[in-house]
């Protein structure tokens, strides 16, 4: 029998611990059922109440943030009143999209947003997938309304997995994807080597061919369903999805890149960056306007603290908030952000949500191997003693506001970081920031003091381009500088956090070509802009960047 009455923890610092719920108690919600799980500090829920609580939270997060607008008129498409589907023939993946209606009901015209679900195979994103699946198959008014797709990124090469293990994981992933039934895209991380530089540009417009891509995707999806009847049908494999394993030279290049990174922290950050770019590219190519990621409350609390430690404090609101619009046309949303990992794990276990476990770069790493690990251990250990830790950190993150820094030019947003695409946290007048100090310390020693003194007064001209580094000096000198230090024109386009990460990369050569190409592209343009700045009218600042799309 299990021992009762024994507290295994170290004694709490002050006062007796609060009474813990026991099995003899009833569910705090319905007061009837036998509790199966303890949520938060002491609420014991029975199975059914827990499920209701969990599902409600998911839908509430979406509803609260107005992600899904049932009935919003956006464009053309035919959409349904629901035609009632008998339970026996309900297929997974049914629902969402446009339907055809018989009878006298006139077709309602609205466009359903296409949402890409970023699935890592892990418990949180798997749970998210399942919630979307269930949400889309509900009846009438309560149904979620958007057209889902799933993307799975195979990161085995970055994690040092053998080709056999990767193939095995991929096979398991495909099984789950087929069960879920949404259109899916499997991409390998190696594909970053074929990404175009445009993926790094923030685009305010909708992706090109959105309407066409939508209609085509929805129509083909529905046609397939109609054609194949009730059985679960094979999902359309988009021509860009990898059919076989990626070419060996790309795998090697990726391994080389990750092996060259000196610290695990930088490796994790680089992996995240590349993964984001890849998913963004998939979203843009196929006309998805939103990407949902499965970041849970626990993960976001850890991420918040980690980001602070990494020098990304300026971007916390984007990194941990519900919606992240830094990419412009594609919005990243985090619908699982109110679910703790414990809730997710229990839900998946109790309701048999399939997931695929893949080792990551930091699997089995010791506690002090990276900042991420350290922060994770810190938060989880604290949570064990003080069960409101995660929710407190989460609530703090909810209060973060996305506002531009004071002192920045209002209106036009400044330049963006090359890698993380956040608006650079630059304020040239304020060299008391870490960013300013770093920039200042990069100034070559031979620079004449005159140029340095000029730095604070030359405002918009130098903004975002590493302070006074390259401005107001003769062109010949600039070109010389450039050749001597090729890293500089990449580094100076990064935010503080990304710069710190880049320091752990001894050479920029193994980076995928799109990053270096885009850095190259931005550099001379920025310089040219600086030189003609005084001749430009203020309005032309937008028009001066014609190539961005």
């Amino acid at each position: 029998m299990c021992e009762v009455g024994e507290d295994y923890r170290e004694p709490a610092p002050a006062g007796p611990p609060p009474p813990r719920p026991s099995r003899e108690q009833k569910c705090v919600k319905c007061k009837e059922g036998l509790p199966v799980v303890v949520i938060r500090a002491g609420d014991a829920f029975c199975r059914d109440c827990f499920k209701a609580f969990y599902v409600h939270k998911f839908r509430a997060v979406l509803g609260k943030n107005r992600l899904v607008f049932p009935g919003e008129k956006v464009g053309c498409g035919t959409a349904s009143r629901r035609r009632p589907v008998p339970a026996a023939s309900r297929t997974p993946g049914l629902g969402g999209g446009a339907g055809h209606v018989g009878g006298a009901v006139p077709p309602v015209v609205f466009l359903l947003p296409q949402v890409l679900l970023a699935w890592s195979g892990g418990p949180s994103s798997s749970s998210m997938l399942w919630q979307v699946l269930e949400g889309l198959s509900r009846d009438s008014a309560k149904r979620l309304r958007f057209v889902p797709g799933v993307v799975y990124a195979d990161e085995g090469a970055a994690c040092g997995q053998s080709p056999e293990d990767r193939a095995k994981t991929l096979a398991e992933a495909k099984l789950v994807l087929q069960t879920v039934g949404f259109p899916w895209h499997i991409v390998a991380l190696e594909e970053v080597f074929s990404l175009p530089p445009s993926v790094l540009r923030c685009s305010a417009r909708e992706p090109v061919g959105t309407e066409g891509a939508y209609k085509a995707a929805v129509d083909s999806f529905l046609q397939q369903r109609h054609a194949l009847g009730e059985q679960s049908q094979p999902c359309p494999q988009h021509p860009q999805s990898q059919v076989g394993p990626p070419p060996a030279n790309q795998t090697e290049a990726l391994s080389r890149l990750f092996n060259s990174v000196k610290t695990l922290t930088a490796k994790e950050e680089l992996l995240q960056t590349l993964r984001t770019h890849l998913i963004l590219h998939v979203a843009r190519t196929h006309g998805y306007s939103k990407v949902m990621t499965g970041d849970s409350c626990t993960r976001l609390a850890i991420k918040l603290m980690t980001s602070l430690a990494l020098g990304r404090g300026a971007f916390l609101a984007w990194d941990t908030g519900f919606s992240d619009e830094r990419h412009g046309d594609v919005v990243v949303v985090r619908p699982m952000r109110e679910h703790t990992l414990k809730e997710v794990a229990f839900y998946n276990r109790l309701f048999a949500v399939p997931s695929v476990f893949t080792p990551a770069v930091d699997t089995k790493a010791p506690e002090k191997a990276s900042i991420h690990r350290l922060m994770e251990a810190f938060i989880l250990r604290l949570q064990a003693q003080f069960p409101s830790t995660v929710s407190t950190v989460y609530r703090t993150s909810e209060k973060l506001v996305k506002a531009p820094r004071d002192g920045c030019a209002a209106g036009t947003p400044g330049p963006r970081c090359l890698l993380c695409m956040c608006v650079l946290d630059v304020d040239t007048a304020d060299s008391a920031t870490a960013f300013g100090a770093q920039t200042f310390s990069q100034l070559p020693q031979t620079q004449p003091p005159v140029a340095q003194a000029e730095a604070p007064t030359v405002s918009s001209c130098c903004s975002g381009m590493g302070g006074a580094r390259r401005c107001c000096r003769p062109e010949e000198e600039e070109e010389e500088e450039e050749e001597e230090d090729p890293r500089a024109h990449v580094t100076e386009q990064l935010c503080y956090g990304c710069r710190v990460n880049m320091k752990d990369l001894p050479s920029l050569d193994p980076l995928p070509p799109y990053i270096l190409a885009e850095a190259q592209l931005r550099s001379p343009r920025a310089k040219a802009e600086q030189q003609i700045q005084e001749y430009l009218l203020e309005d032309h600042e937008d028009a001066a960047r014609p190539g961005e799309s």
């Binding site: 021992e3 923890r9 007796p16 813990r20 099995r23 080792p359």
Partner: protein, 82 residues
Amino acid sequence: MAAPLSVEVEFGGGAELLFDGVKKHQVTLPGQEEPWDIRNLLVWIKKNLLKERPELFIQGDSVRPGILVLINDADWELLRAS
């Protein structure tokens, strides 16, 4: 005096990596003086099932923070009264 106890121990969510990738273990706990409880079970698991990196699984008397323990699909927290 506790009689031998037959238990199914299951690991998931990555914990199985520390047990040679085997998720389900059917084990028979030997008879012993003290009654079997989770704490003793964890010690037994550490000694007999765990293949590597004990610090990633056990911390002191209990599991490492972040690892969830379910007993017959119910939260361990429920069985630990104050």
